[in-house]
């Protein structure tokens, strides 16, 4: 077992794709900064990649990093499990952080378990809240489990570092107003060609839409209650009218009516828009877990007993396919009145 006393400070693993730092990593720097102030520690960040430089480091400092470690290597140009595990593990062994935070993306959730197994330390997956226990100094890692029905707080009391992957979109990134010298340490990757044990034949980026649903201010979300695929168009028109985006429950994603990356819920995205329209969504607990933090929730459903009404700020019992077109009309005439 590791000697706990040797481990200090918080390390945030910075995920970049094609040299672009992912939002979740910046969110984690902000969170780490909060925790670091509370526990009198520093925030370290590590960016493995290719052609990473002080521009990347500056971005991390903007959100509260105290020191930036960078490894550049052609073998790190694309993410691969073994190369990234090797460099990150060796950095952890070098700087011995008390906690390591990694974004719970497809990359983070591929990498983090591999590192934790190699280091014989604990890892808590897909956390939605982090805190520090003031008595013991342990990281309190809270995550939904059981399909979002319960929240479990996990600790890693005897092993170091304490590792956690954190769900994108739940922490808030905040720019800190400090003028600090940018401290960068370039770390030799020590990789050889043999470390790359997979061969990437092809990387395909799927046509990126303008925005991710996590970034939308208004979401118009459809569920099974909309009845058929054609009615998605009605929602889409309303979303355009009000300047929002279309999303949906797992049910209509499974039906193939909307794209999987528009799915809200435990197995989809966590969203917190200013307004969330739940249209014909009954409100399975998995769905509610992904949208209940929305500022204003408006639910339309035929069934007065639908659980979605328990979290809605305004609930209308009725047929969404009648109400939404009417609402579109009302909205149009409201806009005209406003302009007049």
């Amino acid at each position: 077992m590791q000697n706990k006393e040797e481990y200090k400070n918080i390390l945030v693993y910075i995920e970049q794709r094609d040299g672009i730092i992912q939002n979740v990593s910046l969110e984690l720097i902000s969170k780490a900064k909060d925790l670091a102030i509370k526990s009198n520690q520093k925030v370290f960040v590590y960016i493995p990649g290719y052609k990473i430089d002080e521009i990347h480091a500056k971005e991390c400092f903007k959100y509260g990093a105290d020191k930036c470690f960078i490894s550049n290597d052609l073998l790190l140009k694309d993410y691969a499990t073994e190369t990234y595990t090797k460099v990150t593990t060796s950095l952890i062994n070098k700087i011995k952080p008390e906690s390591v935070l990694i974004g719970a993306t497809t990359i983070g959730r591929d990498l983090a378990p591999r590192i934790s197994a190699r280091l014989y330390t604990g890892l808590t997956a897909d956390c939605t809240s982090l805190d520090i226990d003031e008595e013991t100094g342990n990281l309190l890692m809270t995550r939904p489990a059981f399909g979002g029905n319960i929240l479990a707080t996990i600790i890693c009391p005897n092993h170091r570092p304490q590792m956690s992957t954190v769900r994108p979109g739940v922490m808030t990134k905040t720019i800190v107003n400090e003028t600090k010298t940018i401290k960068i340490e370039y770390v030799n990757s020590s990789l050889t060609k043999d470390d790359l044990n997979i061969e990437i034949i092809e990387t395909v980026k799927e046509k990126t839409q303008k925005k991710n649903i996590e970034d939308a201010n208004i979401l118009v979300s459809g569920g099974r209650g909309i009845g058929k695929k054609e009615n998605v168009e009605t929602l889409k028109n309303f979303a355009d009218e009000i300047g929002g985006m279309l999303s949906g429950s797992r049910a209509i994603v499974d039906c193939g009516w909307i794209e999987p990356n528009h799915q809200v819920g435990q197995t989809g995205k966590t969203v917190r828009p200013e307004v969330y329209f739940a249209c014909g969504i009954s409100g399975a607990i998995q769905h509610i877990a992904g949208m209940e933090e929305s500022e204003l929730i408006i639910a339309i459903n035929k069934n007065p007993e639908a659980p979605i009404f328990d979290v809605a700020d305004l609930g209308i019992v009725g047929d969404v396919n009648q109400i939404i077109p009417l609402l579109s009309q009302e909205l149009k005439s409201h806009k005209l009145k406003k302009e007049a």
């Binding site: 794709r17 499990t81 073994e82 595990t85 993306t105 497809t106 959730r109 591929d110 378990p113 591999r114 197994a117 190699r118 014989y120 330390t121 604990g122 890892l123 808590t124 997956a125 897909d126 939904p144 489990a145 059981f146 399909g147 029905n149 319960i150 707080t153 996990i154 600790i155 890693c156 009391p157 005897n158 092993h159 044990n197 997979i198 061969e199 990437i200 034949i201 092809e202 990387t203 395909v204 009000i242 399975a284 607990i285 204003l296 339309i300 009404f309 979290v311 809605a312 700020d313 305004l314 609930g315 209308i316 019992v317 009725g318 047929d319 109400i323 009417l326 609402l327 909205l331 409201h334």
Partner: protein
Amino acid sequence: MNIIVCIKQVPDTTEVRIDSKTGTLIREGIPSIINPDDKAGIEAAIQLKEKYNANITVISMGPPQAEIALKEAYAMGVDRVILLTDRAFAGSDTWATSLTLSYAIKKLDYDLIICGRQAIDGDTAQVGPQIAEHLMLPQVSYVSKIEKEDDKLKLKKVFEDGYQIIKVKTPCLITALKEMNNPRYMTVNRIFNVSNTKIVENWSINDIAMDAQLTGLKASPTQVKKIQTKTAKSSGKVHQVEPKEGAKLILEKLQEKFVI
């Protein structure tokens, strides 16, 4: 080709309800199922067997009642089913679970290990990659398509914003997405076999030659400190009105909140 599929028996979480009075989970009457991503893994293995000829072993670590999940796997068409069950394993977190499974896997021949991406009760997605680490194997996670090319596999790995085609040498470990396929039903003949003969092999800690200090609660770095049921936020008003009136109420709300 020898394929090992690791599966977990899970409660069907889509059926879980919360008792609104006590705020606790209602567990009674919740059916147990093979975790969906794992079941896709079984199906993928059977499809590889049909194409390239393979020998499939399915392993599950769990309590004695997980035997039912293994019987189902057998009835789908796999060759051998093993239940890793021992009191010593109880309380294992993902680190200890993956180490225990890797001890069992070491007792078997394998070219490919398939795990489901994640279980619907824990949602950690950690056991697969951790097994790969304990066995020092290459891993490819989030796989939605498998093809074989000589001693290599050609895989489609899914990301948030696209996918990659990856080639990897066997032996290796992959984690499967349920979107990969539609698992077949059990066949009548095999259901008959499984209900009339002792098909499921039970392995204890002695069968995998593991030190008891390395498994179970005491070998697990993580501990559960607290469990709470999520409290629903207080709800607003629900109106049962004509569609036109409903649309008007929504518009008023949007004005009140300065959305429009």
